[in-house]
Symmetry: C2
Subunit: 213 residues, 2 copies
């Protein structure tokens, strides 16, 4: 996607409006007004409101792919370190885009069979393939166990991160009742990342007894 | 909650309408019309639309608690068998109430700070306490590892089950691309339950080397 200042302005304004009023509750006319451009220009750049949302996703998520390739080639790091990097990066990236994910979650019923839904499924499929690549590398090196359900492993990563964004209030309620202390969002994020890494290790570790055979 | 035929009829009609048109998209007048009662009777029985939804939750989820107590006392089963029973039962129960969970998920943005939101948080807190009870029993017996983040363990159970209900299409897309076969919902449910049990074992198992010390 070629970017220029006007395009970026439109996307940032649209993202903010979608977050405030919902995707379906925001008109292209309103976006044009706030971004100080005319409606025809939005159509020219993005074609439709669906494609505008898709462009925001691409704009917010584009940079990861090239880093992944470098990391897969890097022989100096263990498979565990790489998997942990990917896990942390996924959570961090998701959190930094949480407005977008709230929009999607809220609209999920409405756009269930639509263009955006298919786009999200494709994106998740890509993320799953990335995680699978790292796990397979670890398995080929004998550092990780074979026969693990990698789709469910990715699903756990995706679900727990989404849970963190949408249900922080639940976690805060439980932690407050147990410790009489209000945890910050950062604390919840650290705890989620820590748990993801520890549990992935537990699930993927090669059984010690088997290794000694 | 005392039940009678009329009350049950109203709840079942309301649940169906909420699932079809959303919670906020369904009026008490419409519920009254379809259930063939008058609006005053709904107010008399349930007070408000919020409390009607709460009553549906209680109606759909009430029976579990007594089984839990019996199971905790049962000395003939291992801690693992008990945890697996709770896991399977949670998923099965959630799936059988999936209309309700779709409603909640779709309305999440709108009722974020409301009465229903607090009610859901309380219910989840109860479910978390149940899971914690079983894990603590296993830990006291030395069958399960101490120092595991039980809140995140519960969150995984809750998130993966919700993911199954709301994102079956994602899982189907991935499985189709890998096997050229359309999995049934039952297959996805079995796979989720299997993964939950295997991964809980991995996370909670007492390290073999430590045990031999």
């Amino acid at each position: 996607m070629e970017l220029n200042e006007k395009k970026i302005k439109i996307m940032e304004v649209a993202e903010k409006l979608f977050a405030e009023h919902g995707f379906s509750g925001t008109s292209v006319r309103e976006i044009a007004k706030r971004a100080d451009v005319n409606v025809a220009m939005i159509s020219y750049y993005f074609d439709s409101k669906d494609k505008l949302l898709e462009s925001i996703f691409l704009y917010r998520g584009d940079y990861l792919q090239s880093k992944i390739e470098d990391l897969l080639q890097d022989e100096s790091l263990s498979s565990w370190k790489k998997l942990e990097w990917v896990t942390d990066e996924y959570v961090r990236k998701f959190i930094s885009n949480q407005h977008l994910h709230r929009i999607i979650s809220r609209e999920n019923g409405m756009i269930h069979n639509g263009y955006i839904r298919n786009f999200i499924i494709q994106r998740r499929h890509q993320h799953y393939m990335i995680l699978r690549g790292f796990v397979e590398q670890g398995q080929e090196k004998g550092e990780m166990k074979a026969g693990v359900d990698t789709l469910m492993l990715y699903t756990t990563l995706q679900s727990l991160t989404q849970h963190l964004v949408l249900n922080a209030d639940f976690m805060q309620t439980v932690i407050f009742s147990e410790t009489k202390r209000d945890p910050s969002f950062q604390e919840l994020q650290d705890r989620t990342q820590q748990y993801l890494k520890v549990s992935m290790r537990a699930i993927l570790q090669v059984d010690t007894i088997q290794m000694e055979k």
